[in-house]
């Protein structure tokens, strides 16, 4: 069974998938830490290949502050398997999306494949967020028992320091902002385009039928 040639939908699918390449250049997530003593907030940009400071020495300075409350240092590339696997997964999904787009362009696959790619990507994305949140929990709660400062909540339980997955939170003297960054917006737009490709492809197929 040959499918319809879907020129427009195929191109949209290809563009949508390619937008994911932005993750190799732009950060996925950004966490900023401001405080009275930090009018220029410290910040970290989370890339799929690793974590970098917003400014040159931010990571070192965040680690320096975190050692007071016994947090682990921010992971280096070699300390988390995610920084090895995530780029491969994204690379694979880009390639897959482009192939599906090209095949769709020449009418070798149906428009449903576009949606299929989107569903797969959504599942992977959700898993990624879940994993990210696990890391944040671990980072914010697995504290050195010899920590210099051991604060407690009013109910007497030890204070933990998990940054918000998304949004704003006041933590001790710090204002913490955690928001998607450029890379995340590029995935969002890219994935949205693959859905557009699905509907456009559907329309193109119907016209012919």
């Amino acid at each position: 069974m040959g499918s319809t040639i879907m020129k427009k939908a195929g191109i949209i699918m290809i563009i949508g998938s390619l937008l994911l390449l932005g993750l190799f250049k732009f950060p996925l997530w950004n966490i900023m830490l401001g405080a009275p003593q930090y009018p220029d907030p410290l910040g970290m940009n989370i890339y799929i290949q690793g974590i970098e400071g917003n400014e040159e020495f931010d990571i070192q300075n965040i680690d320096g502050l975190n050692h007071y409350i016994g947090m682990k240092t921010i992971p280096k590339v070699e300390e988390m398997w995610e920084f090895d696997v995530f780029p491969k997964v994204i690379g694979f999904m880009v390639a897959l999306g482009v192939i599906i787009g090209v095949l769709g362009f020449f009418g070798k696959v149906s428009y449903k494949w576009f949606l299929g790619w989107f569903v797969l990507m959504s599942v992977l994305g959700a898993l990624g967020m879940y994993d990210f949140n696990l890391w944040l929990i671990d980072y914010g709660t697995d504290l050195d028992p010899k920590a210099i400062m051991a604060y407690t909540h009013p109910d007497g339980t030890p204070m933990t320091y998990k940054p918000p997955l998304i949004g704003y939170q006041k933590m001790l003297n710090f204002d913490v902002d955690s928001w998607p960054a450029t890379g995340a917006y590029m995935i969002f737009v890219g994935m949205l385009l693959t859905v557009v490709a699905f509907f456009v492809g559907k329309k193109e197929s119907k016209k012919v039928a």
């Binding site: 220029d40 040159e56 020495f57 070192q60 300075n61 320096g64 007071y68 210099i148 400062m149």
Partner: protein, 655 residues
């Protein structure tokens, strides 16, 4: 006795003239400004806001350079230059001690006078600021990225380095003139053989445009007058330099009388381009000398002092057409050039008038040989032929003139204690305001360039009296800020200053504030004793010298327990601040140190020497409240008897 009576007579006349000038419009200084106007609003810089200008005020007899914000008059920093500064260890640490080396040995103090900011095309560029040490002749260069003294060069054959440090309009040269003439070369001779035998040197120091490095290009050996102040020509007169002189009488004693006899002294006009060309073609005479050149390396954070052994001198008679004298009435003090470069103002401090020379007329007089004799072979131009105009009876005791960007000049009057605004070209007096009290220099941001920023005028006053709450017999100095945007000058603010702020230089904050360094990068630290990691920390004995390679980060020293030091040892604490965060310096102080503390900014390594004299266990600690655990930032050195055989050991967090 007769001479004393003369002085009294003069002062009596002076007082009378003050009365005449100011009789009707004299205002009470008390409560002036502020109340009747919105002056308070105009100097108010809200919490967290920044000032519009950086003002660099000479620290005078503190030897330093102070940094103020305008219009608030808030002091931002005192930059150590010519004097030791126990507050941060400048001049006490091993790295900075060479900065204060001279041919007289280590000189830990000076009298700083005239800051001048570097220029390009006659406009402030904010790369460096230069300032002179008056007592032991030196010129310092302060980098305006690091806000730190990077270089000091001693000036040989000079004494009372006062007509300094003024720069040419592309910072080609920083110029230093001697106030006191001396035997050149120095020799053992009777003082009363001064006349004809003592000489005055005018030194042209070239500045490398990339590094800022200074080197004496040549010294012009002039007749034995007192070279008081100077300024470069600019724009059309670029290539010339002008120096006021007094004591053309060549008196050597009781100068207050004997150097005030001639009706006219001179402004020396120097065509430095002509002399530069002469020197570049092999002219001049290299003579033996001995002077220190001290340079701070930005990467090792360590200064080196080199003694230089010769200097190129130029006899003005060997370069015809390079040097002329402009007769100027009554012991002129300030020598100021307007932004167009046309007018050269001689502020005759014992005169009631202000003399203005014309550069164009000067060139014409030279061309047409309109001479009025000569002094030691140097042609004296005819006074009438070079005169541009006279500001008639503006006040008493004119000292200095600054310029705005609208063609107005502002002259300070010491005796009549006022600032007088007058029009350049018409010589008409436009306004006068009293100052409290007895103003020396005045300063307009960029006032020594082609492009002044004519918003504020700062009067740098010599006498304070009752302006602030009394603090015993010794008072702070006082500055006053005027708004000069209107027709009349308006007093906005008094603020205290350190030392005696002779002169000042100011620049729009936007031109430098974004370049201001926040930290030194550890990756660029090339200090031979730096300890970047915990494995770099160690203690090494070399005979009686014990070198401690230590580092510090919030909130501990590594190592913080040291044993094996003995009485009679010389202990070098080489400490690296591992912080790479803005405004996290750590201090270091150890009990019984005979020098000072040191304050180490992030990324730097500095060294303090400690010579323990008593057996015991002695603490050291961080002096700068660096963090919540600052009080915990401490350590101990065990000092054993000189004959002890305890081995050196060091540790952090070990039992």
């Amino acid at each position: 006795m007769k001479k004393s009576i003369n002085i009294l007579f003069f002062l009596a006349i002076a007082a009378g003239l003050v009365g005449c000038n100011n009789g009707n419009d004299r205002k009470s200084g008390k409560g002036q400004g502020g109340l009747a106007t919105n002056a308070a609003e105009r100097v108010y810089v809200a919490p967290g806001e920044h000032d519009e200008y950086y003002a660099f005020m000479s620290g005078g007899f503190s030897g330093q350079l102070s940094v103020y914000g305008l219009p608030s008059g808030r002091m931002l920093k005192v930059l150590p230059v010519f004097s030791q500064n126990p507050e941060n260890g400048y001049g006490y640490t091993e790295e900075t001690k060479p900065m204060l080396n001279t041919s007289f040995g280590f000189v830990p103090w000076d009298d700083s006078h005239h800051p001048d900011i570097s220029q390009t095309d006659g406009v402030l560029d904010g790369r460096w600021i230069f300032i002179n040490g008056n007592n032991t002749p030196r010129i310092a260069r302060i980098d305006l990225k690091n806000f730190a003294t990077e270089e000091i060069i001693e000036i040989p054959n000079s004494a009372g380095n006062h007509s300094s440090s003024f720069i040419t309009e592309n910072t080609e040269y920083v110029v230093a003139g001697t106030r006191f003439s001396v035997p050149i070369p120095q020799e053992d001779m009777p003082i009363n053989e001064y006349k004809g035998n003592f000489k005055g040197s005018l030194t042209f120091i070239s500045v490398d445009q990339e590094t800022g490095r200074m080197g004496i290009k040549f010294q012009l050996i002039m007749p034995g007058f007192n070279y008081d102040l100077s300024h470069p020509g600019r724009d059309k007169s670029h290539g010339w330099f002008f120096f006021t002189t007094y004591n053309t009488e060549e008196a050597h004693s009781l100068l207050e009388v004997n150097a005030s006899q001639n009706d006219k002294d001179f402004i020396a006009a120097i065509n430095w381009k002509k002399i530069e060309e002469y020197v570049n073609n092999g002219g001049g005479k290299m003579v033996p000398a001995n002077y220190a050149h001290n340079v701070m390396d930005e990467h090792t954070h360590t200064a080196t002092s080199t003694m230089l052994k010769e200097v190129l001198t130029v006899n003005p008679l060997d370069v015809p057409g390079a040097v002329y004298f402009l007769p100027t009435p009554k012991s002129p003090h300030g020598c100021d050039v307007d932004p167009t470069g046309e007018y050269i103002i001689g502020n005759g401090k014992l005169s009631a008038d202000l003399t203005v020379h014309s550069f164009t007329k000067m060139l014409d007089a030279i061309e047409n040989k309109k001479f009025d004799g000569e002094a030691y072979g140097i042609p004296i131009l005819n006074f009438e032929d070079i005169l541009a105009g006279v500001v008639k009876q503006p006040g008493l005791g004119p000292l200095h003139t600054e310029f705005d960007d609208k063609g107005n000049a502002y002259t300070t009057f010491f005796i009549s204690s006022e600032v007088v605004k007058w029009k350049v070209g018409t010589w008409e007096v436009l306004d006068r305001q009293p100052v409290f009290y007895s103003v020396g220099h005045g300063m307009i941001p960029g006032g020594n360039s082609r492009k002044p920023f004519g918003k504020y005028f700062v009067a740098l006053n010599k006498i304070t009296k009752d302006r602030y709450l009394p603090t015993g017999p010794e008072l702070t100095q006082s500055a006053q800020l005027f708004d000069i945007t209107g027709d009349k000058m308006e007093l906005l603010l008094d603020f205290p200053t350190i030392g005696e702020p002779h002169y000042a230089a100011a620049i729009p904050a936007d031109m430098i504030k974004n370049n201001s360094r926040k930290i030194y990068k550890l990756a660029e630290n090339k200090h031979p004793y730096a300890a970047f990691t915990n494995s770099d920390t160690k203690v090494v004995r070399e005979g009686k010298n014990v070198h401690i390679y230590m580092n510090m980060i919030r909130s501990h020293f590594n190592p913080d327990n040291i044993e094996g030091v003995k009485v009679g040892d010389k202990v070098f604490f080489h400490i690296t601040n591992l912080e790479q965060d803005f405004d996290v310096p750590h201090g270091f102080a150890v009990i019984g140190a005979n020098n000072a503390e040191m304050l180490i900014v992030p990324g730097k390594t500095e060294t303090l020497v400690w010579e323990p004299k008593q057996v015991g266990v002695w603490p050291f600690y961080c002096t700068d409240f660096c963090s919540a655990l600052h009080q915990e930032m401490q350590g101990y050195v065990r000092v054993s008897p000189a004959d002890s055989d305890i081995e050196l050991s060091w540790s952090l967090d070990e039992d």
